[in-house]
Point group: C2
Chain length 239, copies 2
């Protein structure tokens, strides 16, 4: 029996007992989708860092540097935060130092709260992620990165999708209103995720920045089977 | 044009600019429902206080004292937090000093953040509340009290209901994912709110404490037309 809890914002994480639980960090548009994509495309590791300065410093250690703030790639870095920058052999065998507006600090927060494992969540490998979590029979916290600590729809939708998928694979105990709401919202939206999210604040924000292709990509369901999680404080291929 | 924002937990209130906005504090089970009921049944005012000690002290100033923690009435107080304690003339013409687990601190927080007006939200006077807010043409923040800072379903449902009702009365601008989600969840649940909420954590908590009658009462839609809001730091009849 796996207990599943959804945390709707990093600012609410202190209310949950994270220790020894499996935490899935969720920043669908786009950090954790990009991390999963980079690992699937052969990156050897991704180090999530809080500040652009920290990410920049990793250049001298042979890392590709990647930085995004407010949806934009920062100048002076090798990459921004688009999954398309990780394809066609560009990250094959490479390590990446990544800092983003929302997602990367959640990875650190989950690690600091002594989670058993910290995974990177994405629709792209949803089924593989659910299989891994179900096989581990450890309680799960789904941590939505949100937008600058505010609630957002796309991370909530993924939390609902993953909670539903785990529940279809193994016995679960869901006594968390945020998880119940997430599952209901996912059910409502699942037939047309892109259409549903067009009303969301972040979709609009990224559309203005011409990232529509990224968003459509990030909302694809279970297109690869790689699972990405923290090993020695870097995101690596687990499955 | 009224901008509507939903804040899903008092722990997220700092992310919003509250100053000069109308704030509706929402603690459906049961603080704000009880406050609206008390005013509708003729209480002259309700002073929301953080601690039982503060509420107790008001006894010497002629207040009825009311205190609830974790769903239970505290010993040594005149009342707990049940709307039924406010009926049949029991509070007619009286002032009440009230402290509860979740709702009362939100009233103080909204006042401290310099809201233009602070209202007490309940399904019981939903239409009257929406009419008042629509008539004022001031931006609105719907502040869910939650349960000890965690997200809950019943406050979210009411936020969705009120946002929908205001939108049916006047032009609104809703660019807040929490508001969009709340409206969708309300739409999903509105045909049977009691049935929908039976899965929620707080409904289960209160059921164990035999408060089912309270919950069915608090989920009634627009049964009176009194509007309750802060005047000189006490909740009073506004309409």
């Amino acid at each position: 029996m796996i207990n599943i809890e959804v945390v709707l914002s990093p600012a609410l994480l202190h209310l949950s007992n994270v220790k020894d639980k499996n935490v899935v960090v969720i920043d669908i548009l786009r950090a954790t989708s990009t991390i999963c994509t980079a690992i699937h495309h052969g990156a050897s590791s991704i180090k999530a860092l809080r500040t652009p300065e920290e990410a920049k410093l990793m250049s001298s250690h042979g890392y590709i540097t990647a930085a995004e703030r407010d949806g934009n790639k920062l100048e002076g870095f090798d990459m921004g935060n688009s999954p398309f920058e990780c394809m066609n052999g560009k990250v094959q065998g490479k390590s990446i130092a990544l800092t983003t507006t929302n997602g990367t600090k959640c990875i650190e927060a989950a690690e600091n709260a002594r989670a058993r494992n910290v995974y990177s969540g994405s629709f792209l490998n949803l089924k593989a992620m659910a299989l891994k979590l179900a096989s581990e029979q450890t309680d799960v916290i789904l941590l939505c990165a949100g937008w600058k600590d505010s609630f957002n729809l796309e991370d909530t939708l993924f939390a609902g999708a993953l909670a539903s998928e785990i529940s279809s694979l193994t016995e679960t105990d869901i006594d968390c209103d945020a998880a119940l709401m997430s599952m209901d919202i996912y059910n409502l939206a699942k037939s047309d995720l892109v259409g549903y999210l067009k009303k969301s604040s972040h979709y609009k924000r990224l559309s203005h920045l011409h990232h529509e292709e990224d968003m459509v990509y990030c909302l694809q369901h279970s297109v690869f089977e790689t699972v990405t999680g923290l090993v020695d404080s870097e995101m690596k291929k687990i499955v």
